[in-house]
Symmetry: C2
DNA sequence: CGTTCGAATGTGCACGGTCACAAATGTGGA
DNA sequence: TCCACATTTGTGACCGTGCACATTCGAACG
């Protein structure tokens, strides 16, 4: 009978130890790069590990160390470009740091669903949580459950609390608004995102701040749901009363829908109406007309978020939370108003 | 000193057992819904678990059971709409089935990177793997490493091997091509995806099959990279020699870039050139003109994929792998050719 | 009233690592 | 030669849960 027949059990450190002629503890030391191991011993153990295709058992390690090296991501609309990019970056950063990532999607935003998703994460004994979701509500649940792990969120300036990652969306929104005002527009609408998303709220505040600072009268923003479909229908409604020359949309998808509606009404962009988006998704440069928008570096955002969380977990120094300043990308969808 | 001061350790089944006046095994039975537990006992134990906010320790459970209840997702371009949607669906389905999901991103497609990502997953003792990536290469690595866990991939008809999930992309591509031919087009180009993506290859084959079946001469497809940017540059190159009246793009993003290039050249869509995409991303209906495309239900795809994998893991019955037939959505980007 | 049998519960160990501590080994100087 | 001390290695317990098996309990039956 061949010696390498498929074992019923995967090899453990004790198997390795036996074959290498050392104690299991020595094998453990090799695994963890303990300093005081003779090179020759280390090499011998490594050799056996290779031969056996040994893999440390994560569950056993987690159990004995009392730490899971796993972080959880709580995410809504994870199929959209922004969140998806951030999640990807978070995963990469986590892997780099030797952490595992587990994602829970929120299909709706009611407290029960949020609680269930959090439960799912906590059951995995995650060491930290990243929230990419309508954070207002999630925060409530997090506070109420007095969750025992650190958490961070991708969040705007004006830190709602200490868990946020600064990202100056207000500045971005002000830049976009200023651009329209500078072009000569005075009747500007804002199509905002869902009001319980902190990003949406920050962009809205940026818009209102800038309008106020420049003494331009404003109307109440429309609250959307991030989708192109909504942008389209909102545009149709708005165009019944054509009392504006520019719209600032809280994301690129809604801006796309808006432009569709505007064209359907026989109007020209930017001749009759200028449109500004937010995010600079990769497709925005190819819209018709190419979309003026505010660039967000989602990947960088995800990376920073992860760094922050890892600091919290390891009780490291409070990393400086400098804000990333988004950049206005001017393309063909904006121009001076027609008179 | 209050009795409920923050314990240094989370409560275990033994803590629960002590307070409930039963053995730890009885607590374990309650946890696992063992049939022969008296209702009164069960209730008492549940009560204590609630009081203590007891959470089973996943690592211990995994260690003891020898099973991790975790599946891995190996994903490339996970920030794109298609993959992202599928991943979200997979996560939901997994959570429903009591499984956890761990995702590893591929930043490039060379064997070393693939191997590293697989390693990362295997280190977590995943019980199965879903591949959403340039599968040709990943397959090689999977086979070569003789990975010990079942794996499935989101894949086209014509099963490359037994691990695939049928999804009739060839039929979808044929429908799109047929649509163009029926409109009267005879000079049709195909902008394909990266050739090591099975989806790209299947769509290309569908295109070539249909062209052959209808006796329309064809030129070699152009190989793209799924991005709108590439579609734009490919379009610019193609338009130097304007010997076609229609293009079938392997996804919607590239189709968007193509339309951008076509408009830049001063041509009309669909008057001068018809364009068909593939995927029906939510934005496609709002492109200018709205894009004729082939609808794929990524969420359904992800769910089926998960069901298939869970069957494999539990050695269940070989589920019938019926193909989902994609649907052609005709919008404004296609029309009869001008003569 | 003893026997039998199924339901309900308890006992002890295994899972595969890590940790604290003990022991062995090597090295240099008095 | 022997001791002090650093380096390297070994021993045994422990993390929290599930499994196999043993035991107790209770009811039914001849």
């Amino acid at each position: 009978m061949p010696a390498d027949l498929p074992k019923s059990r995967a090899p453990s450190i004790r198997d390795v130890a036996r074959l290498a002629g050392v104690s299991h503890q020595t094998v453990s030391r090799v695994l963890n790069n303990h300093p005081s191991i003779r090179d020759s011993t280390k090499a011998r153990v490594q050799q056996v590990m290779d031969d056996l295709q040994y893999r440390p058992n994560r569950a056993a390690r987690a159990l004995s160390r009392g730490t899971s090296r796993t972080i959880g991501v709580l995410s809504a609309s994870s199929s959209q470009y922004g969140p998806a990019s951030s999640i990807a970056a978070i995963q990469d950063a986590a892997r780099e740091a030797g952490y595992y990532v587990n994602t829970a999607n929120l299909t709706s935003a009611d407290p029960a669903t949020i609680e269930a998703a959090l439960d799912h994460l906590m059951l995995q004994s995650v060491e930290g949580i990243v929230v990419i979701a309508p954070q207002m509500r999630v925060f409530d649940v997090l506070e109420q459950l007095s969750v025992a792990v650190p958490y961070v969120t991708l969040q705007s300036t004006g830190s709602l609390n200490e868990h946020g990652l600064s990202f100056d969306q207000i500045a971005g929104a002000r830049a976009a608004t200023r651009h329209l005002i500078d072009l000569g527009h005075r009747n500007i609408y804002h199509l905002a995102g869902p009001q319980d998303w902190i990003e949406a709220e920050a962009r809205m505040r940026g818009f209102l701040d800038e309008m106020g600072a420049m003494d331009v009268p404003t109307t109440a923003p429309i609250l959307g749901d991030w989708t192109a479909d909504f942008g389209y229908y909102a545009g149709r409604e708005l165009l019944r009363v054509r009392d504006f020359t520019a719209i600032f949309s809280s994301n690129d998808q809604m801006a796309l829908g808006l432009m569709h509606a505007i064209r359907d009404a026989g109007l020209d962009i930017p001749g009759d109406v200028s449109v500004v988006g937010f995010d600079d998704i990769p497709e925005a440069a190819h819209f018709w007309p190419p979309l003026t928008t505010v660039r967000q570096d989602f990947a960088e955002l995800g990376r920073r978020c992860m760094a922050l969380l890892l600091d919290d977990i390891t009780d490291g120094p409070d990393q400086q939370r400098s804000a990333i300043i988004p950049e206005l990308i001017v393309r063909g969808s904006t121009g001076p108003p027609a008179f």
